[in-house]
């Protein structure tokens, strides 16, 4: 209310100056016309001026009157508005509550939206050289998802000149038995290159080595810091232990640093090994992330992907969108589908092939 009064006062002040100026102009014009009129009736210029003044009446008094008129009206209007508003709200407390609630919701929603925009769009990712991190998609088509296929992914992976690291990333859930209690935990199936995309090293032990995502490799798993803390009591000898995922024993090779990788649901990461029957160009199921080589611009990457696509006999159409990664791991890790539209607006790398032609 105070604010409104203050705003009202300020407006009145600005308005007062303007209206005074306008009124002065009107008076001047009026007297001038009256003078000309009087002269046309045969009076001398001097008499005409006097006559015009006389006809007009007291100028200063009129100005006072004018000011009083509008300031009274102004204050009256404001007071009436305020009184009416207060009375209306008091008369109907339910309506008042709804109004105040809606206002609160509106303000809250705006704040929330800004928090999301800030986290997703404005702040950079907490990884080294985030501008080199990219996400790769196929061209969206009406009927098919723009996830890519295993064979296309392997084609992309051969582009060593562009990508320093390229990895798939698929969510997975597995039953985990640690001690007496069992739980279903979220994790990620990834390529051996995965943590190179982020430029992240393990806090304890190591991340995946080359070849650990190939058929026949020993089952290994990397844990999040929070899983290590909660499920394993921060056991310093964690690397000597195994983790059973859905009953299958996995050797724990590393624990990630605290922070970035704890904000998400995922608690463990294990290599995604393509089964022979998964090697095709028909199933579009892979989410792909990558890290560009130092010095490779998004445009170069895009051009290179276009060449690759042309080289594949018109099979793959490419489009790379420049990208900037988000700091919010939650959007980036847990809701890739929902965040895709966000990413689209960002400078994300968007390599696209056209699955419809396959």
């Amino acid at each position: 209310m105070k604010l409104r009064f203050a705003a009202g006062r300020l407006l009145a002040l600005v308005r007062k100056r303007r209206l005074d100026r306008e009124l002065d102009g009107e008076i001047l014009a009026h007297l001038e016309m009256a003078e000309i009129h009087a002269m046309a009736a045969g009076l001398s210029p001097e008499d005409a001026r006097r006559e015009a003044r006389r006809g007009f009446g007291g100028i200063e008094q009129m100005k006072e009157d004018h000011r009083a008129q509008r300031s009274v009206r102004w204050a009256e209007n404001l007071l009436r508005d305020v009184r009416y508003g207060v009375a209306a709200l008091a008369r109907d407390p339910g309506f008042a509550a709804v109004t105040i609630g809606l206002l609160a919701l509106g303000i809250g929603a705006n704040t929330a939206m800004f928090s999301i925009v800030d986290a997703v769009l404005l702040k950079p990712l907490p990884f080294p050289e985030p501008e080199r991190m990219v996400r790769l998609w196929e061209a969206p088509t009406p009927t098919l998802h723009n996830n890519t296929t295993t064979l296309t992914f392997l084609d992309w992976k051969r582009q060593g000149a562009i990508f320093e690291a390229l990895s798939v990333e698929e969510p997975v859930r597995a039953a985990v038995a640690t001690g007496a209690d069992a739980a279903r935990l979220s994790g990620k199936l990834v390529s051996a290159d995965y943590f190179n995309v982020f430029g992240v090293k393990a806090r304890i032990g190591r991340t995946f080595a080359l070849g650990e995502d190939q058929p026949g490799a020993t089952p290994v798993v990397v844990l999040s810091y929070s899983l290590w803390q909660t499920q394993f009591g921060a056991d310093p000898d964690i690397l000597k232990r195994d983790l059973a995922l859905d009953g299958e024993s996995h050797r724990i090779i590393g624990v990630l640093p605290a922070g970035s990788f704890d904000r998400d649901e995922a608690r463990f990461w294990k290599p995604l090994i393509f089964a022979p029957d998964e090697l095709n160009r028909g199933q579009h199921w892979l989410h792909v992330i990558g890290r560009l080589r130092a010095g490779v611009s998004i445009e170069q990457a895009r051009a290179n992907m276009s060449m690759l696509r042309a080289g594949l006999g018109g099979v793959i159409r490419k489009r790379i969108w420049p990208s900037r990664w988000t700091r919010s791991r939650s959007s980036w890790f847990t809701i890739p589908c929902a965040a895709r539209s966000t990413w689209r607006s960002e400078r994300f790398c968007w390599c696209c092939s056209s699955p419809a032609q396959m």
Partner: protein, 112 residues
């Protein structure tokens, strides 16, 4: 000569202005004042300046609106015109005026 002139009856200046604008269309302040004087044929003592506070009042009521225009003397002046609400107000004011003059007239007849 001013002895023969009457002051503008209290509260009727607004009515005179509204009626003037209704009859003559958009006009600036000086023309309005002149028009009122002409119609009154020197029977009225009007301080021309007094129409400006009245115009202000009418504008704030929403009965007239203003537009900038150029006067005969090539000055930027406000032109006033009747709004739809003003036209409605005019008919109400005219009806009120007629009712009260009729009432007063009836009293005067009865007394005489």
């Amino acid at each position: 000569m001013s002895e023969h002139k009457t002051d503008v009856p209290y509260g009727t200046l607004d009515l005179l202005i509204l009626k003037t604008l209704d009859t003559m269309g958009p006009m600036h302040g000086y023309r309005i004042a002149r028009r009122i004087e002409q119609v009154a044929e020197n029977l009225l003592r009007l301080n021309q300046g007094s129409i400006y506070p009245a115009l202000m009042r009418l504008e704030e009521q929403g009965w007239i609106r203003t537009q900038w225009g150029i006067s005969e003397t090539k000055r930027k002046v406000k032109f006033y015109s009747l709004t739809r609400a003003g036209a409605k107000q005019l008919s109400v004011a005219v009806a009120n005026w007629e009712r009260s003059t009729a009432l007063v007239a009836r009293f005067l007849e009865a007394e005489s």
